[in-house]
């Protein structure tokens, strides 16, 4: 479960060796039958002319990256991240065509693809080295705590559209898989440090070494301190933060047959945090700005056994703990996840992957307050999942069909089935056409099941509090997605990737008013007007994502992207819900990006990235254009100096606002930093 291409590779393929192996070894006839052909003719005895006429089997996806992938995939490499000047994973994700990355304040981001963006965006699944990092609390991601040593990231694979067939619930609008390098590829000492206007100071240190011939390890530690964003009038927003993190990874590789990986991280962060919370006493609103603390850790073990190039088994176990202590939420969460995947070929052009998974999560919400509460305060959930996927090479490498489904059982809605079918047609090495129809669901989050969120207080009389309530009969949100894409290498220097989609959503979350009731606690007595989470909204969204790459010269590369999105949300006639349809205006209709990377003489690299993001009418945020620039100088392999400017085209601009919980409006400022790296 390493990646998306490998995800789409592995994921579309790791699965089942035990069964297979047992079957194979219990069938001596099979062994013998194959002994005859087992002495393979010695290929080296063939002449050159004969060799180039030997027919080869179809290529496995591992060797054949995203060009033939049957979905909208983008890969951000470690090198892309370095050259972008990004200092966080959300910043790195800004490079991905079709993703909508909006910074809410210094430590909060709203990230989604294909619409429905929100601070609590809930349709994107995010994994780090196979570990799910979205929180079942609201089915979204706390981006402030998702980090690692950026230099150790091998790549970030982003699938837009449903990945539910393999990845399971919540992979509705996309999957982001962050994959770090193997320990073997991070040997030696790497140290860097820097600082600037928003990045007030940061330092990263990693050391990689060898324990035995096939066993490598690395340890890292990092720290950063980031400045406040500003309010529209230019004052500090009181959201500065700092975080320290340390971790390790060790890999044992027995040739190519068995791989064992152990890895883990620990982190701690202090955040300045401000909320505006309605209250029952005058002035009926209060500004809470208490420091928040976040901490957590995880440990993961993974064993991969390769039976052959086409068959492998992977077993993975991880434990993850997160704690979030703010004036609104006081949560501790523990997760244990066990995952098995097996991939093997059957028949000549047919591959099967299957997998089993179990996840246990326990959370404890000890911070119940009038603004946000849960009943019960602690809860355990069990998630059982399995998937089966088959891939047929229907026509000599030209047409490939992938069929599969995920079967899941969760504590909220019971069984969920998420099937999908994908077809690729690759008439030649330069063109790929793919299409897909799939179903995905977004299962209820904890807050939708048993949470309570205060929305507004009106002084009255009577004194009234409008609160949003979770609902035990809240169902999963459903998507049927239709996708069509085309990739072409028009020329050695030009490639184009177009993905289009039509998404049909049903049972989306909306709110239904309940019967008002009187509540005495907390005082003073007040009338509560409840709005319960129900599944009454439907939607259609459609759009296109275009990415173009042009490499006129070895040392000059251009990348451009354009994303178009339309969303139509529908509530039933007479619905009292005035919130949910506003999601139409929280994702930009148009986004465009242009990036140029130039290798100048004397080992100087220049990267310029511009982006345009359309307005967000719901929040009254205007469209903006901005630009990042990075100038790096690498006099040799050991030393690098870089100067980075971010959001250069204006003093400050807003990118997003928070929804359910009110956070003061914050704007993102122009920033500069410098960084020095050494490597031994």
């Amino acid at each position: 479960m390493n990646s998306l291409v490998t995800g789409l590779s592995r994921a579309w393929r790791h699965a089942g060796l035990v069964l297979f192996w047992v079957m194979a070894s219990s069938l001596p006839a099979a062994e013998e039958a194959d002994l005859n052909r087992e002495t393979p003719d010695d290929l080296t005895e063939l002449s050159l002319e004969e060799l180039i006429n030997v027919e080869i089997t179809s290529v496995s996806r591992k060797e054949e990256p995203i060009f033939k992938a049957p979905s909208a995939v983008t890969i951000v490499t470690g090198n892309d991240i370095r050259r972008s000047g990004a200092t966080s994973i959300p910043e790195a994700l800004r490079m991905v065509p079709g993703l909508d990355v909006a910074q809410v304040n210094a430590h909060d981001w709203a990230i989604s693809s294909r619409g429905f963006n929100d601070l609590f965006a809930n349709k994107l699944l995010v994994l780090m080295d196979g570990r799910s990092v979205y929180t079942p609390l609201f089915s979204g991601v706390f981006w402030d705590v998702q980090d690692t040593m950026l230099e150790d990231i091998e790549r970030i694979e982003v699938i837009r559209g449903p990945g539910a067939t393999l990845w399971g619930a919540n992979a509705v609008n996309g999957v982001i898989n962050i994959i770090t390098k193997g320990a073997r590829d991070t040997q030696g000492l790497l140290a860097n440090a820097g600082g600037g206007t928003e990045e007030r100071g940061f330092a990263n240190l990693r050391y990689g070494g060898q324990l035995a011939e096939n066993t490598h390890y690395r340890v890292y530690t990092k720290y950063f301190n980031r400045d406040d964003t500003v309010t529209p009038s230019g004052d500090d927003s009181n959201d500065a933060w700092s975080m320290a993190r340390t971790g390790f990874r060790a890999d044992y590789e027995q040739d190519w047959i068995n791989t064992l990986t152990f890895q883990g991280d620990l982190y701690y962060g202090d955040l300045d945090d401000t909320y505006i919370v309605p209250t029952l006493t005058p002035p009926y609103t209060s500004v809470v700005d208490e420091p928040a603390h976040v901490s957590g850790g995880n440990g993961l073990a993974r064993w991969t056994h390769h039976f052959s190039e086409e068959a492998d088994l992977q077993l993975q176990l991880y434990y993850d703990r997160t704690e979030r202590n703010t004036s609104l939420i006081d949560e501790a969460r523990n997760t244990v996840d066990l995952d098995l995947q097996h991939r093997f070929p059957i028949l000549e052009r047919h591959e099967v992957i299957w997998g089993l998974g179990y996840r246990f999560a326990h959370d404890d919400q000890s911070g119940n307050n009038f603004a946000l509460s849960f009943d019960p305060t602690d809860r355990s959930t069990h998630l059982y999942s399995s998937f089966l996927q088959t891939e047929w090479d229907l026509l000599e490498d030209l047409v490939e069909l992938t069929l599969g489904s995920k079967f899941e059982h969760n504590d909220y809605t019971g069984f969920e089935v998420q099937p999908g079918a994908r077809l690729t047609w690759t008439p030649n090495d330069r063109n790929t056409v793919w299409g897909a129809v799939s179903r995905a669901v977004r299962t209820p989050s904890r807050v939708e099941d048993d949470g309570r969120v205060l929305n507004t207080v009106t002084p009255g009389p009577p004194l009234t509090a409008v609160s949003l309530f979770g609902n035990n009969s809240f169902e999963s949100e459903e998507l049927t997605a239709y996708e069509l894409g085309y990739r072409v290498k028009a020329h050695a220097q030009v490639s184009v990737d177009v993905a289009t989609f039509y998404n049909d959503y049903d049972s989306l979350r909306s709110f239904e008013s309940g019967s008002p009731f009187l509540e005495n606690n907390p005082p003073p007595p007040h009338v509560v007007v409840p709005f319960e989470a129900v599944n009454d909204m439907t939607a259609e969204t459609y759009g296109a994502e275009v990415a173009l790459e042009y490499r006129p010269l070895d040392w000059w590369r251009w990348r451009a992207s354009y994303t178009y999105l339309r969303m139509q949300l529908h509530l039933p006639d007479g619905s009292p819900d005035t919130i949910s349809e506003s999601a139409e205006g929280t994702s930009p209709h148009n986004q465009a990006g242009l990036r140029t990377s130039i290798d100048l003489p004397w080992n100087v690299q220049l990267d310029l990235t511009g982006r345009y993001v359309d307005s967000l009418p719901t929040y009254g945020i205007p469209a903006y254009v901005t630009m990042d620039a990075r100038l790096g100088w690498r006099p040799n392999d050991r030393l690098e100096v870089a100067v980075v400017g971010q959001n250069l085209l204006d003093d400050q601009h807003p990118e997003f606002r928070s929804s359910f919980i009110t956070v003061p409006a914050a704007e993102i400022q122009r920033a500069f930093y410098a960084k020095l790296s050494i490597k031994f």
Binding site: F20, W21, A24, S25, A29, A30, E31, A33, D34, R37, E38, P40, L43, T44, L46, S47, L48, E49, L51, I52, N53, V54, E55, I56, T57, S58, E63, P65, T77, G78, N79, R184, Q187, D255, W256, I257, H306, F307, S308, E309, E310, A311, F344, P345, I346, L347, E348, E396, D397, D429, K489, A492, L553, D554, W555, D599, L600, P601, Q605, R634
Partner: protein, 209 residues
């Protein structure tokens, strides 16, 4: 002028991974059995894995390329094939080339971690890696007597010597004579006859990291 870096020490033979081979055989056998049952008209000559064929081609190339005398004088030393970047062969190359010789000496397959270490190889196969890294490695090897072989899209345009391409489920190759010339390698015309494409134009590699 091409010059030779200090040559590799004679290395102990690599033992082929028996476990792996067994697993592969079992898998192949089972697949074949099923194929036999369900598709009786399967063709007589089963297709080979592309990396078996590519391993054999690496061996074959050694018969058509002349390295400078200076690089081959250390007679008991092995002929070194380096694999840089992600190794796509697995154990296939070890099995196919087990016990084979090249230019009269035993073949040593070496997985190379760093660009610095590839200079002592006679052949360097470029597995998957970041384009910038590939470019740096090609630049570094530019005029060393090393036959560079790769698979990335414009490998020979960017200064590589031989690039494998896939043509109708067969492995063919393109060749860059400018690169082999710079490296001081002499190419037998019989190799050129079989190549899908021969590049003569000068390549540019002056700008890179």
């Amino acid at each position: 002028m091409p010059h030779c870096l200090p040559s590799t020490q004679p290395a102990p033979g690599r033992s082929p991974a028996l476990w792996h081979a067994g697993g592969w055989r079992r898998t192949a056998g089972w697949g074949l059995l099923l194929a036999g049952l369900l598709a009786p008209s399967l063709g007589a000559e089963p297709p080979r894995h592309q990396y078996e064929v590519k391993a054999a081609l690496l061996h074959s190339f050694t018969k058509f390329v002349q390295w400078p005398e200076a690089c081959l004088q250390d007679a008991p030393y092995p002929f070194v094939i380096g694999i840089l970047g992600k190794d796509p062969f697995g154990t296939r190359i070890d099995l196919v080339l087990d016990g084979k010789t090249a230019q009269g000496r035993p073949i040593l397959i070496r997985r190379v971690d760093s660009i610095e270490a590839v200079g002592s190889c006679h052949i360097v196969f470029f597995g998957a890696m970041e384009p910038e890294r590939e470019q740096r490695a090609l630049k570094r090897l530019g005029d060393l007597p090393v036959l560079t072989i790769g698979e990335s899209d414009t490998f020979v345009e960017r200064g590589g010597a031989i690039q494998f391409i896939r043509v109708q489920n067969r492995v063919h190759f393109r060749i860059n004579l400018q690169a082999t010339g710079d490296a001081g390698l002499r190419i037998d015309p019989n190799l050129l006859k079989v190549a899908s494409e021969i590049l003569q134009a000068p390549h540019s590699n002056k700008h890179s990291e």
